[in-house]
């Protein structure tokens, strides 16, 4: 068993994931861990329908995905993990679902966040969990698509924090 992609993307399953990543990597099982979507039948259905039929998909809360992961027969399977936030990524990593490099594919702007890259906006909580992931030895590979240039998100997070710190 191996995790072939661990991605943070607040849009979860959308065009970039289906057209960009799933055509590029070989995935047998997709584990989508999100507490909101787990309880939203419409969003779940849209996401389940959007991915190719040959991929088995589990959409559940973060805690349940951790349980599913420990029970599934994942032998010889390529696994993709998808979460919406650095916090949810950390919850999985902390439970032992680990990949040395996590793809940060998109965290979109909303009020209270600051845009640090075209596709990444963060608040203090996001920064905190990026640091915690980094402390676990995880590299943060920022790029929307497999063909995009890899950006070390931690550098941008630190630069943002130093600018924000100097404003105080």
């Amino acid at each position: 068993m191996s995790i072939v992609l661990f991605r943070i993307d607040d849009r979860l399953i959308h065009g970039q994931v289906v057209e960009g990543w799933l055509n590029y990597i070989d995935v047998d099982i997709l584990l989508l861990a999100n507490d909101t979507v787990a309880n939203d039948v419409m969003q779940r259905t849209l996401m389940e329908m959007a991915i190719p039929q040959e991929i088995e998909i589990f959409i559940d809360s973060v805690n349940n995905i951790i349980k599913v992961y420990s029970k599934l027969d994942l032998k010889n399977k390529n696994i993709m993990i998808l979460v919406a936030s650095p916090k949810d990524a950390y919850r999985l990593v902390d439970a032992g679902i680990y990949l040395p490099s996590i793809n940060v594919g998109g965290i979109h702007f909303s009020s209270g966040k600051a845009q640090i890259l075209e596709f990444i906006s963060v608040d203090e909580n996001d920064c905190k969990y990026f640091h915690l992931l980094s402390d676990k030895g995880v590299k943060l590979d920022g790029r929307p698509l497999p063909s995009s240039e890899k950006i070390d998100i931690l550098k941008d997070v630190c630069r943002y924090e130093s600018i924000k710190g100097s404003e105080k």
Binding site: D10, R11, I13, H14, G15, V18, E19, M42, Q43, L46, M47, M49, A50, I51, G106, H108, F109, S110, Q115, E118, F119, S121, P144
Partner: protein, 138 residues
Amino acid sequence: MSIAILLICHRQMATYLKDTAVNLSGVQKNFETIGVLPIDGIESTMDKITLSLTKIDSHIKNILVFVDIFGGTPCNAAAKFFRGKTNITTDIITGVNLPMILIAIAIRGNAKNFGEFLGSVKEEAKKNIISLKDLNLL
């Protein structure tokens, strides 16, 4: 019955599709476009939908939403936005193409029934995907 059209696509696709449709069919009222940019998520796309609806005549209760691809952010945001809105009758059609926009423009003025109108639009969309090789023209 009046029907409004809302076209939501990634990037500039909606703007250019409408521009092309208008070039062929003439200036359109109650036809709004939204571009979903790399910085947009589902929430900001829903905000853009709210803004677009303010530009549509308030008496119009039937809205046909076209989106570029099933499962993309335009589709997911529109689904989330319109679900449970009881004051608007709507459908979201994915995989928008120029023929389906042109037919929607052409027949929306005389449509008597929103369901039949949708049926005609979907039929026209599929009918217009034609391989010239299959027709022995190549």
